[in-house]
């Protein structure tokens, strides 16, 4: 009897709990996974939820690698992806294309038939990067964009009588001056493939704009003279002392970024996202406050009489809607907010990063100094060259080639031949 009573109580408890849980979930919930900085995402979510009281957004933050990549892989295999997933254009989007809903019809309904033409050209190209021939669907929409550049420490430059270099020779001289005063000239986290790719893209797009895009599409050889020259330029950055000693073993984050913010580094190849340092929770190093200690320039002219590198960039982060998300109407509502609505505005106010359309600007407590930088980036973005790779194996091969050349293990042309071999393989040419 006692046991029966105990069992009855237990059952009643379970029923009550289940009812409570169901009641709690009676509103709409959107689940989102990404590597996007959690504090900024929370501001976007707050802005969204204030406008949509019946909807709750549950955001799960992961470190990009290995956590996020692994979580996506496991969830895709087990059919448990959330409604929205953060994506990079090209390879990451393509890996999950089968799990993603085409977004064109949603976007047309939300923003009109000409919605795509409002997105900056480089972002538009990247949105479809890697799609199979004949598939023009959009599987990811950009929330934010970026432009690569060389940031420099204004205080150190002023202290040592330096000005932003406009030629390669001036860059080498600047680096030597900084090094002679015990300052790391240009910090390169060359243990990270992404930072090496970024610098090489700046060099290659200066030598021959857009040639890398053609090479990765198999329309031009990687051993084109301009790309080989850019690889020699890359090796020169190590040999000429532009990068700090031991760059191949260094990481851009957290090491390089911390040293740069502390004033121990003269220059660093980063991008428009560096502005957000000014919005991190205090205490902030004085240099970072309102970005008063920093400014940026494009990579100086490599050839005598040449021009600085054109802007290189594109999508910083985008989002895709999974097949599960397509069944949840609130998922698209939140995605639209992140791409062109209150969610985006909240992220921009947090200085993260640039929008993918003209118009939105950061609002609130933003210094004129930062707004001026923002405007310069936004002027450059519509003309940016593509920063992304459509196939991860090609990007990986280029990373290895860059590391091999930097370590002195490979000659520039031999290294690019290896990239060509991988490109031929993945494009089915060999």
């Amino acid at each position: 009897m006692k046991r029966q009573r105990w069992l009855a109580s237990l059952l009643a408890g379970i029923v009550l709990l289940a009812t409570g849980a169901a009641w709690a979930q009676s509103g709409q919930t959107v689940t989102v996974w990404s590597w996007f900085i959690a504090s900024t995402m929370q501001k976007s979510i707050q802005a969204f939820e204030a406008k949509h009281p019946g909807v709750t957004v549950k955001y799960t933050y992961y470190n990009y690698a290995p956590e996020y990549l692994t979580a996506l892989k496991a969830a895709a295999a087990s059919g448990s992806l959330p409604d929205l997933i953060g994506l990079q254009p090209g390879s990451l989007t393509q890996q999950y294309r089968a799990n993603l809903e085409p977004l064109d019809a949603y976007a047309k309904r939300e923003w009109g038939a000409d919605w795509a033409s409002k997105i900056f050209p480089v972002d538009r190209r990247q949105m479809h990067m890697g799609n199979p021939a004949g598939d023009d669907s959009t599987y990811m929409l950009p929330e934010e964009s970026q432009v690569l550049c060389i940031w420099y420490n204004k205080d150190l430059f002023a202290k040592f009588g330096l000005t932003p270099p406009t030629t390669y020779d001036a860059l080498v001289k600047t680096a030597k001056t900084l090094a002679s005063h015990g300052i790391m000239p240009m910090f390169q986290g060359a243990a990270d493939g992404w930072q090496n790719e970024n610098v090489y893209l700046m060099l290659a797009d200066q030598r021959a704009p857009g040639l890398i895009d053609q090479a990765q599409a198999g329309k031009a050889p990687w051993t084109s003279p301009a790309l080989v020259q850019a690889m020699q330029d890359w090796a020169g950055l190590f040999k000429d002392g532009v990068f700090q000693q031991g760059a191949l073993g260094a990481h851009a984050y957290p090491t390089g970024a911390q040293l740069f913010a502390q004033g121990r580094v003269g220059m660093m190849a980063l991008g428009s996202w560096w502005m957000q340092e000014a919005k991190y929770p205090p205490p902030l190093p004085p240099l970072v406050q309102n970005m008063q200690g920093f400014d940026f320039f494009m990579f100086p002219a490599l050839a005598a009489g040449g021009h600085a590198s054109p802007p290189v960039g594109g999508i910083d982060i985008g989002y895709g809607m999974t097949k599960a998300g397509a069944k949840n109407p609130a998922a698209w509502t939140f995605l639209a907010s992140l791409v062109q609505g209150d969610g985006l505005q909240a992220a921009l106010n947090d200085l993260n990063d640039l929008p993918s359309i003209a118009g939105p600007k950061p609002e609130g407590d933003i210094s004129p100094n930062i707004l001026a930088m923002y405007d310069r980036f936004m002027t450059a973005l519509p003309h940016a060259e593509n920063q992304r790779f459509g196939n991860p194996e090609i990007a990986d091969a280029l990373d290895n080639a860059l590391a091999g050349v930097a370590a002195g293990k490979l000659e520039p042309e031999a290294a690019l031949k290896q990239v060509q071999a991988v490109t031929d393989r993945v494009l089915g040419k060999s």
Partner: protein
Amino acid sequence: MHGARDAGPAAAGPHRQAAAAPASRARPRGAREDRRGVRAGLFAWPALLIFLGFVAYPVLWIALRSLAPDTAPGSPRGAFANYLRAFADPVFWIAMRNMALWAIITIPVQMAFGGLIALLIERYTRRSRAFFRTMFFLPVVTSVSVVAIVWSQMYAPYYGIVQAWLQRLGLTLGIALLADPRTVIFALIVVNIWQWTGFSMMMYVAGINAIPEDIFDAARIDGARFRHLVLRVVVPLVAPVTKSLLLLGVIGTLQTFPIVYLMTGGGPDHASEVFGTEIFRQGIVLGNTGYGAALSVLVLVLSLALSLLQITALGAELAPRRAREEAVA
């Protein structure tokens, strides 16, 4: 107790009892024991289910996946294509070489340092024993992310922690150990030894404490010096611990991933690639799930083969005798 009373004086064995007793009496007792056996077997089910769900099924899935070619263009075709690709891939052999170096260097060095530290702490300290044990064990429980960041900073020339000390002596650290393909794997091995020597020490602490005190007394009376005490008393008597560490060391070597991933990502130019980083790169980053699965299976087979080889060659006695006797009692 209840079972023992039931068995009575004939508890020498169920077969003997069944043979001696008439069939009519043996049946109920056998049935009762069968029921007890079934009931006891039920207790194994949760563990068995967990094993099937979380070990056997993933291994089977990975093994089957390794036989399926990847869908990416240019991926090799055929049932064993992923395995053939591995044997033809220079990065696989770099990882194999690095794993061999890792095992050959880290396992004996960790054992030697760990054993020596354990002996010094257990035999030559009294009040400070707990303090030293904790200090040497601290790296084992320190987050690998913290270890990676701190050691990366220590190795960094120009701005690193070691450089800061050398600067006081007017010296400059001109070698970038993590940046040089010739030195990077050794630099990582040093970090691994630093982190895991404390684990070997703790294992040896248990082993040394299991040696009866009278053996040490007898050795001392016989005039054994420190060297003899170590080589002729301690080393033979902690042999089971050494075997365990060898087994764990080999398995741990093949599982190496976080410290390499965080410090070098397997670079520069694959120079510090280990199986873990290569499997992650292929299976997760590059999306070559089939090839990544094939590499995982190869590592599993290698791990099994090495474990069986060790057990066959060294025996399965992996715990100090006194500990085993106490467990049995």
